[in-house]
């Protein structure tokens, strides 16, 4: 018994969530490209941005700017996200350049705690379950209803993805970033602006994390535990291939669909199997394509 209305709704929601996952995963890929490391602080950047938006928008609301609150709050969060990324590059990634990637991973874990502390300090009394105030839009497309949170998520996640993918794929900057990622020594010897590019990349990753985080929070509500979704988005990154920026869209959508569809269709037998299913899918894909769907295979020669 497949209810077609339900199927349409779930398909739409899977797409939205998939886009959000893709945007969340994007930050991992960008950082991986320049620093060959997983940024474990990425979830905390998301957390910070989500609460910055909440605090900023409620501050604006209390000053009579309720209608602009969300938009301006998001803007503030984007700036904070970018700045956080840059700050991480300067304080952590740069001193550890040339060291084994595990050192950077461990350091980003430290940054995770710091940023979570900062998020808590920013939120203070607002460190709680909340939701953004969005206009009461409701558009019906057949059985599917699109509301303001859907629109916010699609615009934020989709916009972030589109902008950064264009930047990485269709400009020389993207190639230069890959070169820097592969061999920062060599790159600096050939005159590539390694510091600037690395900093910019981390900044953009932070920015992407912030915007994706706000997109996520409009779909889940603002939650102290919202950072947990971000680790799941890591699956999207690997599914796509860690060094593929454009592939992340496919990775995110695949994750969104598998997660939601198995949650729905397996509900009676395996309730809540979505997360595990998403990881199993990823594992199966990786067993066939060990560097993800679009990742570049590592060159192995002796």
């Amino acid at each position: 018994m497949v209810d077609s209305a339900a199927l349409a709704v779930i398909t739409f929601q899977s797409t939205v969530i998939g886009l959000v996952f893709a945007a969340l995963g994007l930050g991992f890929n960008i950082v991986y490209r320049v620093s060959k490391s997983i940024n474990l602080a990425h979830p905390a950047i998301v957390l910070l941005a989500v609460y910055v938006t909440l605090v900023a928008s409620s501050y604006l609301a209390s000053h009579g700017l309720a209608s602009l609150g969300f938009a301006l709050g998001t803007l503030v969060a984007a700036v904070v996200g970018f700045a956080t990324g840059v700050a991480m590059e300067i304080t952590i990634a740069r001193p550890l350049r040339g060291r084994p990637p595990v050192a950077l991973i461990a350091a980003t874990l430290g940054a995770y705690y710091i940023l979570k502390g900062v998020a808590k300090a920013v939120a203070r009394d607002m460190w709680t379950t909340a939701s953004y105030r969005l206009p009461g839009i409701s558009i019906s497309l057949g059985p599917v209803v699109v509301d303001a949170t859907d629109i916010a998520a699609i615009v934020l996640a989709g916009g972030t993805l589109a902008a950064l993918i264009v930047l990485h794929r269709f400009t020389r900057l993207g190639v230069a970033m890959r070169a820097v990622a592969e061999d920062p020594y060599g790159a600096s010897a050939y005159g590539l602006p390694v510091k600037t590019l690395t900093m910019l990349s981390w900044g953009l990753a932070g920015l992407a994390g912030a915007l994706a985080g706000v997109a996520l929070a409009s779909k889940t509500g603002v939650e102290p535990s919202i950072d947990l979704y971000v680790l799941e988005a890591l699956a999207a990154s690997l599914l796509a291939g860690l060094d593929s920026v454009a592939g992340i869209v496919v990775g995110g959508l695949a994750l969104g669909f598998v997660r939601q569809m198995s949650n729905y269709f397996l509900m009676s037998w395996l309730p809540g199997f979505g997360d595990a299913a998403a990881f199993i899918l990823m594992l199966l894909v990786l067993l066939v394509k060990p560097y993800g769907l679009f990742g570049t295979e590592r060159i192995e020669r002796v």
């Binding site: 070169a179 020594y185 060599g186 602006p193 060159i299």
Partner: protein, 261 residues
């Protein structure tokens, strides 16, 4: 006129306390080719890396002495700043971006130099790269990789080009080709070249002046032709003793110890 590059009595230490260069001074006049020779581990690479600033990334440091390039002190500067000044270092072991295609390698470096860089330049000097432009550089043969590495350096329009063992692992014919390329570059573009080599014969063929480093110290220096004539250099670096019945198989029975050091 002062030399383009002057290295004065530098000491270089790697983390934590490995002293590698123990007071080295060299000078490279504008538009010359200077060769640095020496056995394995002597410190040739370290010398070039200290000039380019790359020692820093190996957790090394110039702890004494100074390096002057075009009148500026450049020791312990960031490598990207040094390369911006026109000092381009082509590392040993064909340091290219192996995961990128040939074309992308060129694009990446061209990005750094903006409109100044002419990607075609690479293909002009090393035409055989054109055919492989879409291959990932890691799959190129050794000679092609070396050509690409030098080609990338060209894009930066270097004033001082430092080459670290450009002949390493190349077939004789390709060594010849690469050296021809270097010579052409020197002549046509007027690039000053600092060359570190094991292949002393090849290096001294094109160099104006040479230094021999052993164990972090300069043990001998002089104009190239004079080094070529030196008996010890001949024996230990050029292997010219064959005429006297030496050769590799004979090395088993007879081996003279070096006098220097």
């Amino acid at each position: 006129m002062p030399p383009l590059l002057e290295v004065n009595n530098i000491e270089v230490v790697y983390h934590p306390y490995i002293l590698v260069l123990k007071g080295i001074s060299i000078s490279v006049p504008e538009k010359s080719i200077v060769a640095v020779l020496g056995p394995n581990g002597a410190g040739k690479t370290t010398l070039l890396k200290s000039i380019s600033g790359l020692v820093k990334l190996d957790r090394g440091r110039v702890t004494r002495g100074w390096i002057k390039y075009a009148g500026m002190r450049i020791e312990n500067r960031d490598p990207e700043d040094v390369s911006r000044l026109g000092v381009i270092y082509v590392a040993e072991g064909r340091r290219i971006f192996r995961e990128l295609t040939v074309e992308e390698n060129i694009e990446a470096v061209a990005y750094a130099w903006g409109v100044l860089a002419d990607p075609e330049l690479v293909y002009r000097y090393f035409p055989r790269l054109r055919a492989r432009r879409r291959s990932r550089a890691g799959y190129l043969s050794g000679g092609e990789q070396q050509m690409l590495a030098i080609g990338l350096a060209l894009l930066a329009k270097p004033r001082l080009l430092m080459l670290d063992e450009p002949s390493l692992g190349l077939a004789p014919k390709v060594v010849h080709e690469v050296y021809e390329g270097i010579k052409r570059l020197h002549e046509e573009e007027g690039v000053t070249i600092l060359l570190a080599e094991q292949n002393a014969r090849k290096a001294l063929e094109i160099a104006d002046y040479g230094y021999i480093i052993e164990n972090g110290k300069i043990v001998m220096e002089g104009p190239a032709e004079r080094l070529r004539e030196d008996k010890d250099v001949q024996e230990f670096y050029l292997g010219l003793k064959k005429a006297e019945g030496g050769g590799y198989r004979a090395a088993k029975w007879y081996r003279r110890k070096k006098r220097w050091v």
